[in-house]
């Protein structure tokens, strides 16, 4: 593959995040290395008691109380993440041309929280539409979380969300990379957010599907690959990256977390809910081709596995196929700590692994007491972090309902 020019190479120069076990990258990474879960008991309207991952970031750090009140939880999470990412990037934001910035935020769904709340409200008034909120439309338009970022930071370049189920975070990154390469923008805020824990619908639907996690100890509820796994822990979260061209990052002497070496997206076209191992394998291979890498070149595969019976085994089947000869590729999972942060999942999980480029440690997948034989795979890092010395590449899987797959590959930036 012809080497890319610096103006076509896209790098991560800032990270802003909120996860159930940390509100910045250092805190979050420490939690992942110390085995700290973010899952807690939770109660939601109509559904009742369950478990969830909740975020406690200060949403008024980068926006006024009024903006928080007027906007959505997803918008506030996105604005917090962008504020943190800007601060982390060292950009001179005040003088940066705001019309050359794009905002690309992945969402699993949007509008359900507001609609459920409003229906609940109007029920108190016998469903009289005179009591319906004028906030309904601006809060539920699909671009809302990305649009709220533009309002809070004065961005006048393009903004939209990427609706891609649980592959949305990676879809956000991919969109950012593509728009930078096309020259549409000079800086991208790319990532994903989720406010889904504030709807009862998502809990009730996973429960109806037999795919909602339960456990006496909340911290042990999210247990991908364990033989006793019983489903998903729904979580809140957000993660936004500052992406820019390597040429621009070099010019301003930016700190570089890593380079987006490649990506792949495809569709299963087989089932509304059940994933498809063959298509997942095709998607991973597509990303490898795009990056000009072989499976043996990947140091860490961060799995999507959500702790459902079928899903975990299917993903492992795909990985066994692609990485059959990759003896030095380590496999881990981040949902075992934070649950499933939906639209934020892919980006948060990637973020949790980025520090491996510097510390050479692979964070584990926790809560594997008895590994399911169907989930056995070489080099699965279980329960304790593993020091592997050098990590130069991370492949991040994200798969979503109705059959959408998105894979990103990030490489350590080691200069020229």
């Amino acid at each position: 593959m012809k080497p890319r020019d610096d103006s076509e190479r896209i790098v991560i120069t800032g990270v802003g995040l909120t996860a159930p076990n940390g509100n910045n990258l250092a805190e979050y990474r420490q939690a992942l290395l110390n085995g700290v879960s973010g899952v807690v008991p939770y109660e939601v309207r109509y559904f009742g008691k369950t478990l969830a991952g909740l975020c406690n970031c200060d949403v008024t750090k980068y926006r006024s109380r009024r903006e928080v009140r007027r906007g959505t939880r997803a918008g506030s999470i996105a604005a917090f993440c962008v504020g943190e990412a800007i601060a982390d990037s060292g950009l001179d934001w005040e003088s940066f041309p705001k019309d050359s910035v794009g905002v690309y935020i992945g969402v699993t769904e949007h509008g359900n929280v507001e609609t459920e709340n409003e229906i609940y409200q109007i029920k108190q008034y016998d469903y009289d539409c005179a009591y319906w909120s004028h906030h309904h439309n601006p809060r539920t338009v699909a671009n809302n979380p990305a649009g709220e970022v533009t309002l809070s930071f004065g961005v006048t370049g393009p903004h939209y969300t990427l609706g891609a189920a649980c592959a949305a975070g990676n879809a956000g990154i991919i969109q950012g990379v593509q728009q930078l390469r096309l020259g549409e923008v000079d800086l991208a805020f790319a990532g994903g957010v989720s406010e889904s824990v504030h709807t009862f619908g998502i809990f009730a639907a996973f429960h109806a599907q037999g795919a909602l996690a339960r456990h006496d100890d909340p911290t042990k509820a999210s247990r991908p690959f364990d033989v006793d796994r019983n489903g998903i822990v729904v979580s809140e979260g957000g993660c936004v990256y500052v992406l820019e061209r390597l040429s621009d990052a070099k010019k301003r002497g930016a700190k570089i977390y890593g380079e987006i070496l490649g990506y792949g997206m495809n569709s299963d076209a087989t089932d509304f809910v059940l994933p498809n191992a063959e298509r997942q394998a095709q998607c991973v291979r597509k990303a490898l081709r795009n990056a000009g890498l072989a499976p043996e070149d990947i140091d860490i595969v961060n799995t999507h596995a959500t702790a459902t019976h079928a899903g975990d085994a299917i993903e492992i089947q795909a990985l066994r196929d692609v990485f059959a000869d990759a003896k030095k590729t380590y496999i881990n999972n981040t949902k075992s700590f934070i649950g499933h942060a939906m639209g934020a999942a892919g980006v948060l999980e990637l973020a949790g692994n980025l520090p491996s480029f510097n510390d050479g440690v692979v964070h584990p997948t926790i809560n594997v007491d008895n590994l399911d034989p169907e989930c056995e795979i070489r080099n699965l890092v279980m329960n304790k972090p593993l020091e592997v010395g050098s990590v130069r590449t991370i492949l991040n899987n994200s798969f979503g309902m109705v059959g959408i797959n998105a894979v990103t590959i990030v490489g350590k930036y080691e200069g020229d």
Partner: protein, 86 residues
């Protein structure tokens, strides 16, 4: 029992504090439009209308929004309506 001017004022202040809990109720001037003294915009004004509707279960028509600009005009508008409803 009749609704008093003070009760209506308190309701309005509660609504405004719900928007911004840093507002000093003592500082609200009776004759100055809320939008000018409290930096409210059109969406906030609609929030006030919705909150009043919900609180008093009162239909407030769009043509009457003009009466909800200041503390004084809002009280003058609501007082007869609420006491009529009683």
């Amino acid at each position: 029992m009749a609704v008093t001017v003070e009760e209506i004022k308190k309701s309005i202040i509660d609504i405004l504090l719900g928007f911004d809990d840093t507002i000093d109720p003592e500082s609200i001037k009776e004759d100055v439009p809320f939008r000018e003294q409290l930096e409210l915009d059109s969406m906030d004004m609609l929030d006030i209308v919705l909150a009043l509707r919900q609180r008093y279960r009162l239909p407030i028509h769009e043509s009457d929004y003009v009466h909800l600009q200041t503390m004084k005009s809002t009280v003058e508008y609501l007082l007869p309506l609420l006491n009529k409803a009683e």
